[in-house]
């Protein structure tokens, strides 16, 4: 089995990506990044998801993005409730350069493992607002990865897979069900409590709930009230 590094946040999208990588026959090395997010219960969810879906390893790497600030997810900035960001608006929950940094750490681990494949869960819904979720970003990162590393220089090549890129939340939910993902283990909420229960009102909660509804799947999310 070939090794792959899969970025796993604890949310529903990356859980589906992990299951896709397993279905494609990779030995999955799940990677989470503790970047100073206020909602750390997602990291516990990442660990549950990695174990349940058969990752051969799971690492959580500390990257202290709180020290550079600039995001509602790491700073004392309020996460907006009952508001979904519009297509032209970059939400306050955007973490500066987060995906660049997380993919860079994944690239480092891939290089150590001799893995040529990196998977991440960026998707169509996210890239309306976050610049580092767009297909052109993923392509540029793959190009960079092949210039940055031994594997790229010596010829094997690195591929960055973003299999959810063009899928709606509903399609992602259906794909997860097909692959046996237990979405009850995942935490998407920006304001989840210590037990991983969701607020039901932030962007992430609303997009997720709408996805389950559109897919006709019962929402397994544990809400606070």
């Amino acid at each position: 089995m070939k090794n792959a590094v899969v970025l796993v946040s604890g949310g529903m999208d990356s859980a589906v990506v992990l299951a896709i990588a397993r279905e494609q026959g990779f030995a999955v090395h799940a990677l989470s990044v503790r970047y100073g997010q206020r909602h750390t219960s997602e990291l516990e969810a990442a660990d549950r998801v990695a174990t349940a879906l058969g990752a051969v390893a799971h690492k959580t790497v500390n990257v202290d993005l709180r020290s550079i600030g600039g995001s509602a997810l790491t700073d004392d900035i309020d996460v907006p409730l009952d508001h979904v960001a519009g297509a032209d608006e970059i939400p306050v929950t955007y973490v500066p350069a987060r995906n660049t940094i997380m993919l860079s750490v994944a690239l480092g681990w891939a290089e150590v493992l001799g893995a040529a494949d990196i998977f991440c869960g960026v998707n169509a819904v996210d890239y309306s607002g976050y610049p580092d979720c767009r297909p052109a970003f993923i392509e540029a990162f793959e190009r960079l990865a092949n210039l940055a590393t031994k594997a790229g220089v010596e010829g094997a090549g690195i591929r960055v897979h973003a299999p959810l890129q063009h899928m709606s939340k509903a399609a992602i939910a259906r794909e997860g069900v097909r692959l046996g993902v237990d979405f009850g283990q995942t935490v998407s909420c920006y304001k989840a409590d210590a037990d991983g229960r969701a607020c039901g009102h932030c962007d992430a909660c609303r997009l997720r709930a709408e996805g389950f509804a559109a897919a006709g799947i019962a929402d397994p999310t544990r809400y606070m009230r």
Copy 2:
């Protein structure tokens, strides 16, 4: 004054880069990354250098690369002594994806500051062995940065400056002297002791000493014996 983020390691190259950015009129925000290097005295040197050369701020961000392993600089792998790596050889002191990760963190801070300029100290001597020091890598990172961020999306654009890229160590030493850099404050050694004194035998020490010799500049390095 426009803000710039300058990656500062504590070594001689990035000290010269900081001085160049200051000469170009930037308000320098110096950034160091504590990535699990065994030789932490270079981080103390980074702080001295940033202060001495007039940076308006200096941050050290923790990124725990030790947890992914794969390098003599973070693991219990011996740093080779009295051996300079050849042009086709990637040395064991290479840290997987280090420059990608450090530039990514710099990009995040630049975005928070509204800075369009990032400086780093990669140079011709390094790129003989480290894939992430080559000019093509820097160009690819700049392209990525412009796709990854608000600044890139909204039009201002990010520039990644690597002013030492095509300079020899001797030319870097001369440029530093011209700009008033006190190289006695810098630590390049891979095995420096807690006081920042150098071993005199690792690749970094040898390249540095040869640079001073070729430039006809007295070597201000503090050695262990």
